[in-house]
Structure formats: C-alpha cells, structure tokens
Symmetry: C2
Subunit: 409 residues, 2 copies
DNA sequence: CCGCTTTGTTCACCGCGCGCACAAAGCGAG
DNA sequence: CTCGCTTTGTGCGCGCGGTGAACAAAGCGG
C-alpha cells in the first residue's frame, strides 16, 4: 500500500456548501450564492453549473418576479423537483410511515401508514423498506439514501435503540444495522450508483429538530432547542450551527428527568417530579381528572381535551396551567444550561404553548437567570411530519457534504 | 468599491491546523503531522518550514530518544520557547494575576498578584495591564494578544460581565471593551505588528475548561464538561470538539440552578436546593457545623476542612457525603443533557472527588439514565492556573486559526 | 435611444497541494 | 562492514480550483 489520504480531494470544495444553501432555500439566485459562499461570481457560476449537471438543482433564466429591482435580473436557483430522492421512514407507536423526500425537504410521495404493532423490529423494517421500494418503483425516481426515525434514544456509534418501549421492541435493538440489512436485501441504493444504501437512523425528536432547523420554524437559528412529547415521556434535541448535537454517544438531550416539581409523582428513574411524568399527555389527563385511554392515543386525547376544554372548562384550564408552569420550569433549566437562541415545541408541548403562550413565556423568563435569556423566542414546530423530513435530512447529509458522491464509481 | 471577499485567501490553508497540533502537543514530529493533517509529506514539510519561519515552532533534527524505532528517525517539532507570547490575566475575589504565556500553554513569566479589591473595573484593569506591560518590557518578548478571565458570566457578543459580584464590580460592566481600552492605552499589540490588541475576555470557568481540554486532564476529549466552584456558587463549561460552547449569548452552562435537593435551602433564584447553594464551600462548612470565615477564604477553609477532617471527623465525613451526593445528582442531570465523554471538576468539587471518588461515580452512574453514560470518566482538573492558561488560549486563538496574522501589515 | 446598475461568462494566471522521484538516516542480518 | 529494509525529508513537474479583470447581457429610467 502506498499512501493513505484522508481527504480524497474530490472536486470543488465549495460544492457541498453551495448545495446546502440551495437546499435550505438560502440561495435563491446565483448572486446571493456568490455572497453566501464568499467566492467570485465566476466560481459560483461554475459551482451552480456543476450542481445542475449532477441533476440536483435547476437554473431558471426567466425569473417570475423582478419588482423594482435594479440591474440585470438574476437567474433563479432551485432544487430540481425531478431530481433524486431519499427514502425516509418513521416508526412509532401507531405503526410506521414511509415516504420519498427530495432536496429542499419536499415530500415527493407517501405510502399509506400501517398501524400494526409488532415486537420484531426486523419484520417492521422489512415492511417499511418494502413500502419505500414500492414508492420508488411507482415513481421511477433515483434513490440516493435512506433514513429512519425511531422513538427511542439511539446510541452512537453503534446505532442501537436503547429504549424503544413504545414499539414493544427489545431494548438495545441494533436498528441501524437491521435497517441497513433490510435496505441491502431490497436493493435500495445509496449515493454512489449501485452501492447499497447506508441505514441512517436516529431519534425522532432529534430528526424533527433537524428538519425544523432547515425547513421549518428553526430556520436561521444558531442554537436551536427542541422539546416534544409523544404519547408518553418527553424528548429533547439540540441543533448547533446546523448540525445535530447528539453528544459523545448519542444520548444527549435526555431531558425527561429534569426535576420540575420536587413534590411530584415518582418516576421510574428513581427521582420524582420529572419533566417526563409531569408534562406528558398522561399528566394532563391525570391533572384534569380524565380517564386515560389506550397508550397509543394519549396524545390525541390530551390534544382534544385542550382544544375543547381550554380555557372554558376550569378543570382543564387548571390542569393546563399546571403543566405549563412545570414545562416552563424545565425549559428555563435547559435555557440556563444550553442558552439557545430559539426554542421549538412539539407534540403536547406545542398545544400547551398555543393554549397560553404568555404564561409559558412568563415562567421561562422568570426562572431563567438573565433577562436576555428570558427573551428567547419560543415557537411551535411548523412542519407536518418533521421527524420524517429529518430522517430524509440524515440520508441527504452525505450528498450535501459532497455532491459528487452521486456520480462516483 | 469593487468586490468584498470574506476569505482573504491568506496562504496555506493547513497552516492553522498544523500550528494547533503542535500547540496541543499532538504533532511531535513531521511524520505524525503528516498523518494528522491528512496531507503528503511534502506539504507537511512545507507547512512546518513556514511555521518555523514565522518563529512559532522549532525543528530539531537531532531527536533525543529513538529507542527501538524502525526507519529514519524523525525530526522533532516543538513550540518555539523563545517565540511570541500573549498577555494573560485573571481577576478574582482575592485580587488579580497577570502572566505571559507562550504557545503550548507554557507560562513564561508571572507578575506577583495583587490582593486589593476595587469596585472600579477600570482601575483594576489598568493595574492588570500595567503588570503585563512590565513583564513584557522585562522579558523583551513580542506580544501577539491579550486575554482576561473574569469570575462572571460574560455576555456575547457585547463582552459585558453580567454578575461580577465577587469583584464588587457593577453588573453589566463592559469588561471586554474596558480591557481593550486599557491595552490600547498601554500600547499592547495584537497579532498584527503595531496594531493594538483586542481585549479578549471570558468567564474563568469556561477558560479553565478550555485550558484543561488543550493542555490538561481534558486532552483528547470530544465533549468535555467542567464544573467548578470558587468561594461561592458553581460554574460550568462545555468544550465541544475543541471549541468552547458559550451558547448563543455567552450564557450557556449556568449550571448553578439545577435542583439537587427539593427540600434544600432557598436560593436567590427563587427555587430551592440549587447546585449553587448546596455544593459550594459555604454549604460544606454549614453542613459540617463550622463557622464560615470571610468570603474570600471560603474555598481555602472548606479545602482545609476536608483535608484534615475527612474521613476521620464524623461531622466532616457526613457533610462531605451529603455534598458528594448532591453534586452527583447535579452532574447526572448534566450528563443526561449534554452526554459528555469526560467530566472535569475544579475548586471544592475537585476536593470532593479526591475525598471519595467511588461514591461520586456511583451516584452519577445511578442517576444518569443509561449505564454507559454512568461510565463517563470524572477527573480532577490538572493545571495549576487553568483560567489563566485559558485566557491565553483565547488570545492565541486568532493566531492558531491563521498563523500568517502575525506577519501581516 | 443611451447611460446605469447588476448579473453572468470567458480566460489567463497563480499558488496550493499531489504524486513521484530520489536522498538521508538509522537498524539488523549476513 | 556492507547490504538490504524501513521510514523520513526534500525537490520538481503538474493539475486544478479559484481569482481577477475583462466583456457581454439584461432590465430600468431619463
């Protein structure tokens, strides 16, 4: 063996950043691409041409609008709507979802979800991949990767799901490896033509945060904190400068066990009054004196309760206020530690924010240390299926880092 | 105006990374520099030659030891002990300290500390800078920057000290601007010859963490969490992939108000049982039934109490165990949120770790969620004046990012 | 219609880093 | 001691990505 190079020096170095700018909608024209990349117009032009040649973006010489603009109208850059896609999938307590997602976070095709609960991850993943393959065949799109969102912490770098309890899967299931295996069996290809796709897999809240950061309410944030509930428990995620912060072993932002009520109910973690058990859908139903239904409908039930009973029904109102106060306490703690410049809430937390935004913001402002931190914007998540789009982001990432991957041998 | 370039394309791009490798001791020879940079030997040689020409590193053709090594012995790369220095300073409750620090974190010269407490930051900073200038004149070294460590959160990007209470300074004092002003008045130069130095300033715990990461117990850590006490209160810091994480406005890692004892004593933050008031030196003295002395000696007093009374004195032992349990709870919470791969403790926390490491590690392992997180190494900080060295790191950073700065017009 | 402004493109040039050659410096076997 | 063997250091030609400055193009307004 002669010489091992870590940087294979593949092509233009500005190619990846340029594609990311178009992908996130921050480079609508070659002119702003030039400015954002900090290169000359010549280089930006060459880069755009190369991306166009790869079939990733389109250049439209006829701009629709040019109202009052000075000088020569610029050509419009956009993600190629007919370009390659990735297979994005999400498994959750209610079943799974599969879709094809193009650049720009656009969902190209969706498979009808399946509602079965199956304790065997391999069977589920086979179904997921089969649904994706069916979409690929029907649409005839080229696939350049696959990503999976899982309602569990995923350990890095192994890619094992540590607590997929809502899925009835065994703890420690090697979801990434299993997903990759199913993809290989089904012949799903990755960025490089012909080569099998890697099985990207990560936690669903993390992926939702990533999607919100790139295409949703988190756009432009430097340090984005997301907190969301499913049916049970609370998840968190942090996006730092555009990259997901998963910690050294993928277990960061396990925010469920922050203490938000010293006198609260006991938690399986050994403490009491944890965010997990004090602000999830079950906690709302409990506080409002409602009988909880089956686990896989808790979020629905709590949501409906809020929609119909807030602020009219005093029991619902008091229960919501209680949860908002506790959530605010937990968020204030996180703000003190992470100092994000934006906070996005999902699941029931989003509904709590919608119900009484002033109260939540007031609690956070009061309990976070410095006035300025208290002014951190708290927003509702804005993407329909942000975990799914986030799974697609994961799959797109290698191409976003090096677009030439999709044409290599 | 013609064209604005963001990247001035100054020289070799690998120059900065190479200097950082030598600076942190990760590139003792040209051979490993080649491997670490991922370039060819030719390029690494050219880079080393350029850094040598800048007077930043030395190349020693005669290696001292070559025991049992195969092949041609490699030349040794090292930081130039006679190279430029930065002015590093630290202000604290007991006064201030000033020093000259070269590359590699080596303290070249130290000024005798001054123990005065002065409510006027400008007077203090003038003294600090005067002490530094005296050192520069005495040693005749070239100064390429200045950094200051402050026992207060420093807001970004303003550079104001939000709560310099231990210094009796007014909250919100613009330390960075004041420091820069004093430096300019004294004629202290920055990286570019002739140009005045920027006044780099940051929180002391943050800077201590940075120093530990580059030259101390944190070397090689990907995600390093540091927690330390002064005389009162608790500070935290996080180093992510070699860069300090200060959050979006410099207020990250305000860990003092994590709840570690729901029934604990009230804190000025409005809650009770905060890490701040439950694990600082005053808390130990209180728990052991000792009368606290003056504020500026609390750390000393608590340290001595532990050294002499642990584990012999039952009151001291119980008090220490209590603090260890609470500290462990707080650290477990932080580990759950940040998932670091190493934790370093300073101040009284370091002494608590020394006193009973097993107990502390057991608490963290028990309360952090996943077994693997519980195995995160918890170490004592290892540098004598880590805040001072960290202040120097801050000042060196521009040069580490672009070594050619020190020769530009 | 001609300036003005901004955008896109062409082209010569330049410097960084590669790849390869060869030299240098130790070690060990014969 | 000499001859391989291994690893490290260096000189040289070259490719290529990006610059910079030209020119062309495309609207707008007087």
């Amino acid at each position: 063996m002669t010489h091992h190079r870590t940087r294979p020096d593949r092509g233009r170095s500005a190619l990846g950043p340029a594609l990311q700018l178009v992908h996130t909608g921050r480079a609508p024209t070659r002119a702003v691409l030039t400015a954002e990349l900090g290169v000359t117009r010549a280089t930006a032009g060459a880069v755009a041409a190369e991306l166009q040649g790869l079939g990733l973006i389109t250049v439209d010489a006829r701009p629709a609008v040019a109202a009052g603009a000075q000088g020569r109208p610029s050509h419009r850059l956009a993600v190629d709507p007919g370009g390659p896609v990735v297979l994005a999938a999400q498994v959750h307590a209610d079943g799974f979802r599969a879709a094809l997602v193009g650049l720009g976070g656009t969902v190209v095709a969706t498979a009808p979800g399946c509602g079965d609960v199956d304790p065997d991850p391999v069977r589920v993943l086979r179904q997921v991949v089969a649904a994706g393959v069916e979409l690929l065949e029907r649409t005839g799109r080229r696939c350049v990767g696959a990503g999976l969102a899982v309602p569990s912490a995923v350990a890095e770098p192994e890619g094992t799901a540590l607590n997929p309890l809502h899925l009835a899967w065994p703890p420690g299931a090697p979801v990434r490896a299993l997903f990759a295996e199913c993809l290989a069996d089904a012949g799903v290809t990755g960025p490089a033509p012909g080569a099998p796709a890697l099985g990207h897999a990560a936690n669903d809240v993390n992926l939702g945060a990533l999607a919100e950061h790139r295409h949703g309410a988190g756009r432009g944030a430097q340090h984005l904190l997301c907190v969301a509930t499913g049916h049970r428990g609370v998840g968190g995620a942090l996006v730092l400068r555009g990259r997901l912060h998963t910690g050294s072993s993928g277990l960061a932002l396990e925010v469920g066990h922050l203490t938000v009520d010293p006198q609260g109910r006991p938690c399986h973690c050994g403490s009491r009054g944890c965010l997990d058990v004090e602000t999830d859908p079950l906690a709302l139903l409990d506080a409002a004196g409602r009988e909880p239904g089956p686990e896989s409908s808790l979020l629905h039930q709590a949501r409906e309760l809020l929609r119909t009973g807030f602020p009219g029904d005093p029991a619902v109102r008091d229960a919501a206020h209680l949860l908002i106060d506790r959530l605010g306490l937990g968020l204030a703690g996180l703000v003190n530690i992470l100092n994000p410049d934006r906070v996005i809430l999902g699941g029931l937390h989003r509904e709590l924010l919608r119900a009484d935004p002033e109260r939540l913001r007031a609690v956070i402002a009061e309990r976070s240390l410095w006035g300025r931190s208290g002014e951190v914007p708290v927003l509702a998540c804005s993407l329909e299926h942000n975990s799914l789009v986030g799974a697609a982001e994961l799959a797109w990432q290698p191409v976003l880092d090096d677009p030439l991957l999709i044409q290599e041998v």
